[in-house]
Subunit: 128 residues, 2 copies
């Protein structure tokens, strides 16, 4: 279910966050879906419980998850993320990447193509 690389420069908890975000964004995990408990996932991935918790708590802070009174962690509704704010945070990252890509020869057409590959591949859940 999750792909972690302990040799990567990127911290395990961040890799975990990316993995979970992707499951949410592709619609595999929908609103109110329950995530594996800290301890279970810890055993499954042979990673320390604290590391799992750090990822969960961070995702909660960002609005992707919520935790209910010792019942577990669950997927939060999209609008808890404050999508507009988040998009504005993403913009400079995009523009830095775009600038570098343009320098390397990226055309507008190719960028649009990449956009459409993404929409085609991922099954977005409209009911959310």
């Amino acid at each position: 279910m999750f792909e972690l690389d302990v040799r990567s420069r990127k911290p395990i908890y961040e890799q975990l966050m990316d993995n979970i975000k992707e499951l949410i964004m592709t619609g595999v995990l929908t609103t109110d879906a329950k995530l594996p408990s800290v301890r279970m996932l810890s055993k499954e991935l042979t990673v320390n419980p604290n590391t799992i918790q750090k990822a969960y708590r961070e995702l909660e802070r960002e609005g992707y998850l919520y935790s209910a009174n010792r019942k577990g962690y669950f997927v939060a509704p999209v609008d808890w993320i404050k999508p507009d704010e988040k998009l504005n945070e993403l913009k400079p990252q995009f523009q830095q990447l775009i600038q570098e890509a343009i320098y390397l020869g990226l055309t507008k057409e190719q960028l649009v193509e990449w956009f459409e590959e993404t929409t085609k591949g991922g099954n977005v859940d409209d009911s959310r």
Copy 2:
């Protein structure tokens, strides 16, 4: 000339690399332009010389700079970077960002708009 934030999570040498890349990509620094010496920049930024050298050497490895026999570091021609390979490395980064942005409501039109803002703002040097 350079903007560094010692409190950032991103290492100083990586911030320096980003800064230099941007100067190259916006055409402020063109092919064969000389960069400040390791020691000078070290003093100017009050950063350890080794940190500067790490940034320079890494940019050399990536093909953005070259160093000539104790004469200094200089901007390399674009094609030393192997643009096609680099673009392929950039693609997955783009798609991850695009996927998240789509989840947050990004439209194709907005992405194209961001692309055009980038081309308009930066003065790309065609003579390269």
